[in-house]
């Protein structure tokens, strides 16, 4: 199996689905490399380079550069989805949710329910999230808890190139609006990815490491932080299970609860702000349904309740670290 970057895995998924289904179109800012300039075509492939090369194969009728106009591009994608296309819209940074939320929250997410089950909205909104590039408070947030809160949306957060490809193909084929979140720091991550198309189902967590002492649940970049911590803990004789839910809506509660049944200890690692977060939700699920199995109070390691700071030293302190995860697991072991 070839080693492929997370970025290339996403590109492969889009190319395969666009070949398979002529109704799949890409809509976003600079997704065809910008339009109307005096230089090269396909210079960009979106700011993260994910769609590079697609305009050459599929043309500008299917790889559509828009002005910087998020309400219109997201709303247009939603309207196109409910009338027969299968759009993949690119919201450059998830922070820009602030200028298009109505089209997601009140429109796309609600069509099916509000119209009595008649609407289908096969819409994918791909978006970049996460801290780690000194991009400041308006280009570094997670925000997936906001989407997860909204009925009608599916929320996908891959952590590996393999999952990125399989989950994106599933997202394009899905009949509901899907928010597909790509962590900024994962685009260059390499991993084994099959050349052929495959899907990874929503609502099925993956167990990245197995150990009997504690369970860590983490998403996206934090799965890698958790795995590093798990390796360090193993050297100290503490064996942890690391679970990546991969989708937060639907959420695979069963895999988490089964693991808690074995370990009796839960740590949720979340790069997001802590209040009303995915970490809170997972903690609540385990408190409600797995309380009898718990040997220690549930712990969360999250970003603080602050905006993402700019200065590198502050940003590093903001992001949950391997050391913090390790310390939290050791604390879990002590309190039980």
């Amino acid at each position: 199996m070839a080693r492929t970057s997370f970025r290339q895995a996403l590109n492969d998924a889009l190319r395969a689905e666009m070949r398979r289904d002529s109704r799949v179109v890409i809509i976003g800012e600079d997704v065809a490399g910008g339009a109307g300039g005096t230089g090269d075509d396909d210079a960009y492939g979106g700011i993260m380079g994910v769609t590079r090369g697609l305009v050459g194969e599929f043309g500008r009728a299917r790889v559509i550069d828009t002005p910087i106009t998020e309400s219109a591009l997201v709303g247009m994608a939603a309207g196109a989805a409910m009338t027969g296309l299968r759009p993949v819209a690119e919201l450059m940074f998830v922070d820009f949710l602030g200028v298009c939320l109505d089209q997601i929250l009140n429109q796309a997410a609600k069509f099916r329910y509000m119209f009595g089950g008649k609407a289908r909205t096969p819409l994918v909104i791909r978006t970049m999230f996460g801290a780690g590039f000194n991009a400041g408070a308006q280009h570094s947030q997670c925000l997936y808890s906001i989407f997860t809160h909204i009925p009608g949306l599916k929320v996908v957060i891959p952590s590996t190139p393999y999952d990125a490809k399989g989950l994106l193909i599933q997202a394009v084929r899905d009949e509901d609006p899907v928010i597909f979140l790509e962590h900024t720091k994962l685009y260059d991550l390499e991993g084994e990815v099959p050349a052929e198309s495959y899907t990874v189902p929503f609502g099925e967590a993956t167990v990245l490491r197995e150990g009997g002492d504690a369970t860590i649940v983490a998403l996206a970049r934090m799965t890698h932080v958790a795995l590093e911590a798990a390796a360090a803990l193993a050297e100290k004789g503490v064996e942890v299970t690391v679970i990546d839910p991969r989708t937060t809506s639907p959420l695979d509660e069963e895999t988490i609860l089964e693991s808690i049944g074995t370990t009796g200890r839960l740590l949720v690692v979340d790069e997001s702000n802590p209040r009303c977060s995915v970490a809170s939700e997972i903690a609540a699920v385990v408190a409600e349904r797995g309380f009898r199995d718990l040997k220690a109070p549930i712990r969360r390691v999250t970003a603080p309740h602050t905006p993402v700071p700019f200065s590198p030293i502050l940003e590093n302190a903001y992001i949950p670290s391997t050391k913090a995860v390790e310390a939290a697991v050791l604390e879990l072991m002590r309190t039980s």
Partner: protein
């Protein structure tokens, strides 16, 4: 033009208008259809009003009475494959686009057999099979969605057009500015219709719109824009014919501002004390589009009084049946609370 030959703003405006020429006379069938649909809308709304006042309608409703010539003058150029996006004041658009009055009334009453299974209500009536993409309870919510439908038409080369209805209140939302710009940039088969009834809720358009003129503001986005008397079915008809023809031929988007008069309040039960008594009296007595239509076709001899009276009776009977069905309709089952959040789980 001034003495130097430059065009001032007013000249530009009349230039925009000169494109809008009358092309044809309506035949008898079209006139009968127009009158029937306007009467059906009025009858529907007045029945909803009465039922609301009697306490039979849950939630709240916004009535279209007085604006019928716009929905009908536009939608008469569309068929079920074309798309419209509507507003919170959407009953008229729905009927003009071919939605079933009985199933609409059932929906407004929250019944299981309603167009949206009782889960939408007055502000969310939709009928996708007829290209009715939904009333929209978010002011300015529809235009981005409508350009999406126009993108579908353009991408699939289906020859369809998409119409975004917005009010003067919605005309100030950024969503419509963004949608108009995008429609021009991508040359989409879209038509933006502003129903300017003079009030966004209780705030007058003269206060709320900074520009001198809505059509002139839209023209600034780079598309043909025209202002018509929205109480004159024939004026709306002509403007819509130009815009729909242009869009179908791949000529891109257009904008129509139709000035009209809201006979009822913003919502059912609105005391409207922000409007003078004289204005309210005039709304009913002088600015009724159905009265104007009736007088015109009778004076020209194109239709006979007896025909119109027969249509009036049929519309009354149809809406009586719709109300009866809505009262008798079954409530949704409690299981319906949980269904259709997703297409697949």
């Amino acid at each position: 033009m001034d003495s130097s030959g430059n065009r001032g703003p007013m000249e530009s405006m009349s230039d925009i208008g000169s494109e809008w020429v009358r092309r044809m006379t309506l035949d008898r069938d079209a006139l009968l259809h127009a009158y029937t649909t306007m009467r059906r809308i009025r009858e529907f709304e007045e029945r909803v009003n009465a039922e609301f006042v009697a306490g039979h309608v849950p939630g709240f409703v916004h009535l279209y009475s007085g604006e019928e010539a716009i929905a009908v003058g536009i939608c008469i150029h569309l068929d079920s494959g074309d798309y419209i996006g509507s507003t919170h004041r959407g009953h008229g658009h729905s009927l003009a686009k071919g939605c079933d009055s009985k199933r609409m009334m059932l929906e407004i009453f929250g019944k299981a057999e309603g167009l949206c299974a009782g889960k939408g209500g007055s502000m969310h009536i939709a009928d996708l099979e007829r290209g009715m993409l939904g009333a929209n309870a978010i002011v300015g919510g529809s235009p981005p969605l409508v350009i999406g439908a126009a993108l579908t038409a353009k991408t699939l080369k289906s020859d369809r057009v998409a119409v975004a209805f917005t009010g003067d209140g919605g005309s100030n939302q950024g969503t419509i500015f963004e949608a108009m710009n995008m429609a021009v940039v991508l040359q989409l088969p879209a038509i933006f219709v502003i129903e300017n009834n003079g009030y966004g809720e209780g705030t007058a358009v003269e206060y709320a719109v900074g520009a001198e003129d809505l059509a002139r503001r839209a023209a600034g986005f780079g598309m043909p824009a025209v202002k018509v008397d929205g109480r004159d079915f024939f004026a709306v008809y002509d403007a819509a014919e130009n815009a729909v023809t242009r869009a179908r031929a791949g000529g891109g988007p257009s904008f129509i501002e139709a000035r009209c008069t809201r006979i009822h309040g913003h919502y059912c039960g609105d005391p409207q004390s922000y409007r003078s008594k004289e204005e309210l009296t005039q709304a009913r007595e002088l600015h009724d589009p159905i009265t104007a239509f009736r007088e015109r076709v009778l004076a020209s001899g194109e239709l006979k009084a007896g025909e119109l009276e027969s249509i009036d009776r049929q519309a009354a009977a149809e809406m009586e049946a719709a109300v009866t069905a809505a009262h008798a309709g079954a409530a949704p089952s409690l299981e319906a609370l949980y269904t259709d959040v997703y297409a697949t789980y």
